[in-house]
């Protein structure tokens, strides 16, 4: 029970209330690694991914807060 409590606390602390953004970050980093492994240019993946993830996260939160979602 205590281990589960620590895990839940750590999850809440790092991931917070938006797991989709965390998953998106992991996927974007994985795609970057795949491209780099294939000796392709990979730096361009993260900037649009980060802006897109932030925009989606803000949109979800704004819809929730204004009661339109």
């Amino acid at each position: 029970m205590r281990v589960k409590g620590y895990f839940t606390g750590a999850w809440e602390f790092v991931v917070g209330d938006d797991w989709r953004t965390a998953l998106g970050v992991v996927l974007a980093l994985a795609l970057t690694a795949l491209l780099a492994q294939a000796a392709l240019s990979a730096w361009w993946v993260m900037p649009p991914a980060v802006v897109g993830l932030l925009a989606l996260s803000v949109r979800r939160a704004a819809r929730g807060a204004s009661g339109r979602g």
Binding site: F13, V14, V15, G16, D18, T21, A22, V25, V26, L29, A30, T32, A33, L35, A36, Q37, S41, A42, W43, V45, M46, P47, V50, V51, L53, L54, A55, S57, V58, A61, A62, A65, S66, R68
Partner: protein, 263 residues
């Protein structure tokens, strides 16, 4: 000091300053209404606990291979930074309440008075509330100190920046003898969110094997780009809220915008 080290020190300083302002409000409230010695004992115990966390986890993180460390730290900073940035955007758009230090101070002092009289010299309530307040606010700072510091193998520099911020806030609090209500907390949180997200993106991609054009100089483009994107998002949310409010009131959105600008 390199540009990345300046970024490290600045990010940690700002993050620590904003969290220290919130912790100061709690300590001031229980110190003035209950017991200064017990409140300061709580501050000391929490500071020791935070220092122990940094001292224990720092060497473990720096022992990781550099690429694994950068992916781990970059990913964590990015997830963490995007949360800060999202909340700051929502606050600046008016969709989330801003932290009001005077209100928080009043609530803490009311709770401290309602908690009952002290039974002896040591006040357990003041100790516990101070300890919890400093520890909870400090954990985020410890996380930032560890991730930023470990990635550049400069944990002492990160810890020094955090210590400097705490001293600055204590000095300001001592001079004002009141909660630091005039500190622009949301602006600071916005800035910290931009820094964490930018450095997280930079290190995460490097750790995953990507090479940024221009190397470290790419940060000079990444940080302003993230800042502009975040400002644009805050503006867009504000504008859509105004438009929705105007629509409900039966006023054309453009007229509402003009009224907002002229106000």
């Amino acid at each position: 000091m390199s540009g990345a080290e300046i970024g490290l020190a600045l990010s940690v300083f700002l993050a620590c300053a904003v969290e220290a302002v919130e912790a100061l409000t709690v300590v001031l409230a229980v110190g003035t209404t209950r017991s200064w010695s017990s409140a300061m004992s709580g501050v000391g115990a929490a500071t020791l606990a935070l220092a122990a966390i940094v001292a224990a986890l720092g060497p473990a993180l720096t022992a990781l291979p550099i690429d694994a460390l950068r992916v781990l730290v970059g990913g964590l900073l990015l997830i963490f930074g995007l949360q800060w940035l999202r909340k700051a955007i929502l606050r600046s758009a008016g969709l989330k309440a801003k932290h009001d230090e005077l209100l928080a101070y009043e609530q803490e002092t009311t709770a401290a008075r309602a908690a009952g009289a002290r039974h002896s010299g040591f006040d357990g309530y003041a100790f516990t509330v101070s300890f919890k307040g400093v520890l909870l606010e400090g954990l985020e700072v410890a996380f930032i100190v560890l991730t930023f510091g470990a990635n550049q193998h400069r944990i002492p520099l990160a810890a020094a920046a955090a210590g400097l911020a705490v001293l600055a806030v204590i000095a300001a609090g001592a001079a004002a003898r009141a909660p630091l209500a005039k500190v622009p907390e949301n602006t600071l949180k916005f800035a910290v969110g931009v820094m964490l997200s930018s450095f997280g993106m930079f290190w995460g991609a490097e750790g995953a094997g990507a090479s940024w054009p221009g190397g470290d100089a790419a940060l000079l483009a990444i940080i302003p780009a993230v800042l502009l994107a975040a400002i644009a998002m805050a503006w867009t949310v504000r504008r859509s809220l105004h438009a929705a409010a105007a629509e409900q009131a039966g006023v054309p959105a453009e007229a509402s915008d003009r009224a907002t600008v002229s106000a």
